[in-house]
């Protein structure tokens, strides 16, 4: 295994982790503030990707596509919150899981209805296409580097939003004690809609950015959703810092596991079976990581009680 390949894979892992963070940040905020498990978060990711692909198809502009993705996902999120989600806040988790599972069915099949079953394609914008030379002679796709950059910027922005702004204070207060901040005169239902739309917009952004690397299709949000759950469970539900650490851990474990485990098994097994055992273990590696974390810290790395 050459060093260059390893660095490339680390960058891939970072890129994957940063995308997971955009998903996980929304999930963990929504859980932290409203106490809601939102399975339909993956559908908002899909809405973002489809909106981006459709707008890029009409206008040819990637910037407009990104704006459309943010707007469509935020609007879908706000709409769903107003119609359905707000009835679920004081229900138990089982009801939340089922109602948002129902939303997935509606979103997925509805999108299939509108766009058909064939995947759409979203092209990487010309200015960002092609590789870039990194120090050390590593050629790496520019677009993926940009994704890493965008993701880190969004993460920094989110930390600032939560630490420094009035909305951020209200969000943190909402996590601590919902009744109290309502009693202090904060319009809690507006705050909830806002937080939900913010989480949705982040998911939509992730969907649009990833849509240019993968194909845009129905059901694309579900694997990411489940990984984002793993991330927030590892990081501690409700913690943005946990979501960031968890995303990078999961992104790197998943990417490096797929590259490193098969050769590792080959060092003490026959090549043919090592390959299949290695890839089987690699595909389970993040779940093994999650179980490991929960054994030692049952409420995640940065979880509260």
């Amino acid at each position: 295994m050459s060093l260059i390949l390893l660095i490339e894979q680390v960058l891939n892992g970072l890129q994957f982790g940063v995308m997971l963070f955009l998903m996980a940040a929304g999930l963990t905020l929504i859980f932290g503030v409203m106490g809601l498990i939102n399975l339909a978060h993956g559908s908002l990711y899909m809405v973002g990707a489809f909106a981006a692909a459709a707008v890029a198809g009409w206008t040819g502009s990637f910037i407009l596509a990104l704006i459309a993705a943010l707007a469509a996902a935020a609007a879908a999120g706000a709409l769903v919150e107003l119609l359905v989600i707000r009835r679920l806040y004081d229900r138990d988790h089982l009801d939340q899981v089922l109602a948002t599972f129902a939303l997935i069915l509606i979103f997925s099949e509805g999108t299939r209805w509108l766009f058909g079953s064939f995947p759409l394609f979203l092209d990487v914008p010309a200015a960002l296409a092609g590789p870039v030379m990194l120090p050390g002679g590593i050629l790496y796709p520019l677009y993926r580097l940009v994704i890493i950059g965008v993701g880190l910027l969004v993460a920094a922005g989110l930390f600032l939003l939560i630490a420094k702004t009035r909305i951020g204070v209200q969000i943190r207060a909402g996590e601590a004690d919902r009744e109290m901040i309502a009693a202090l005169g904060v319009d809690i239902s507006k705050l909830y809609t806002l937080v939900f739309a913010l989480g949705a917009a982040l998911a939509g952004l992730a969907g649009a950015l990833v849509g240019a690397i993968q194909s845009v299709q129905v059901g694309m949000g579900e694997p990411v959703l489940i990984l984002a759950f793993v991330v927030i469970v590892i990081g501690g539900i409700g913690s943005i810092k946990g979501a960031l650490v968890g995303s990078l851990l999961v992104g790197l474990t998943d990417t490096l596991g797929g590259v490193l485990l098969p050769p590792l098994f080959a060092s003490f097994m026959q090549a043919s079976s090592a390959n299949s055992v290695g890839s089987a273990v690699a595909s389970m590696s993040i779940y093994i990581l999650m179980v490991g974390v929960l054994l030692f810290k049952p409420s995640g790395l940065f979880g509260g009680t």
Binding site: L103, I237, M290
Partner: protein, 327 residues
């Protein structure tokens, strides 16, 4: 309570009566649908022991459903290719005997539930939901990337397995087997709910501290419930694989977990016959709405949403009133 008993009798008879009418009308496809409903109901009965009685929201029961399916697929595929499953340290041959396969499915699913439960039950609430989901996904990805038994493509079994004295390829006889198993599971579940174990489990759900102070261990109660629950769902998986003569990683997918949960909720959580009502309704909707539109799951989603938001007792709760089913 009397109304629910009456409703239960109607629900219980509904499956064989429908199958009987389909037999008279010579509609084998309908019999297969009813068989599917009975098997899915069995999976729901399994989940309901953990979910309805123990309050354990497992989002990973597809793991047990899939393991049961693969227990059948692996044993039958070895029998079909006349190769032993394992030669060292001792010889294990494949088999086409349904009873042996059921045993294997029960034991595999129970052992998996023991391991998964022992780890997952250390957590509660959302963490429990997510960790069970993660275990289900773990097995899903394992099944996809393990090439020995078909990987992503799954495994086809050409001939349905044997049951002593019956021709399992005849739809009505296979229905009778599935229905018989369902009836036994329902009887077992009703006994568990009334037995000291079930009462203690239900109490642990309501107030774990009090249960602990009378000298019981909630963790152990929940673990036993989880194992029984997983084993029953595993048995359903073996039957489901036999019905389709096909197993694939889809059985492990989280959609399967969600659907099993949907049967329980559509019917009514914690109601003995909830899964039967839910699975029958699901199959009916799939068949009727699926005939109208390719996108029938949109309607299923809307219906499910309405049930969760407005009809919280599910089908049985709506028809039989809102008393709790335990007394």
């Amino acid at each position: 309570m009397a109304r629910e008993t009456l409703l239960n009798i109607v629900l219980f008879l509904m499956l064989p009566v429908t199958a009987g009418i389909a037999l008279l009308l010579d509609e084998p496809f309908i019999i297969t649908l009813v068989t599917k409903a009975a098997i899915l109901a069995l999976a729901g009965v399994g989940l309901n022991i953990a979910l309805g009685l123990g309050g354990l929201v497992s989002f990973g029961h597809a793991a047990f459903f899939g393991l049961g399916g693969y227990a059948m697929g692996i044993l039958a595929s070895h029998a079909q290719s006349y190769t032993p499953l394992m030669e060292t340290p001792f010889l294990i041959e494949g088999t086409k005997s349904m009873l042996v396969i059921w045993g294997a499915a029960l034991v595999t699913a129970a052992l998996a539930a023991l391991a998964i439960g022992a780890l997952s039950l250390r957590t509660t609430g959302v963490y429990f939901i997510m960790i069970t989901l993660a275990f289900g996904q773990m097995l899903y990805y394992f099944a996809i990337s393990w090439p020995a038994y078909g990987g992503e493509d799954g495994l086809s079994i050409y001939i349905r397995n044997d049951f002593p004295g019956l021709n399992t390829l005849d739809p009505i006889q296979f229905f009778a087997i599935a229905f018989g198993v369902l009836a036994i599971a329902l009887f077992g579940a009703s006994r568990i709910a009334k037995a000291p174990f079930g009462l203690a489990l239900f109490a642990a759900r309501q107030n774990a501290e009090r249960v602990e102070t009378v000298g019981l261990t909630p963790f152990r109660l929940r673990l036993v419930a989880f194992v029984i629950s997983g084993a029953v769902t595993g048995l359903a998986g073996a039957l489901f694989a036999d019905l389709n003569r096909f197993v694939s990683p889809t059985m492990f997918s989280w959609h399967t977990s969600g659907e099993i949960m949907v049967f329980v909720i559509l019917g009514g959580v914690g109601r003995l016959f909830g899964p039967v009502a839910g699975a029958a309704l699901f199959i009916l909707l799939e068949h009727v709405l699926g005939g109208i539109s390719d996108f029938w799951q949109v309607y299923l989603g809307i219906l499910l949403l309405l049930v969760v938001l407005f009809a919280r007792g599910g089908l049985i709760g709506t028809l039989a009133g809102r008393e709790v089913a335990h007394d």
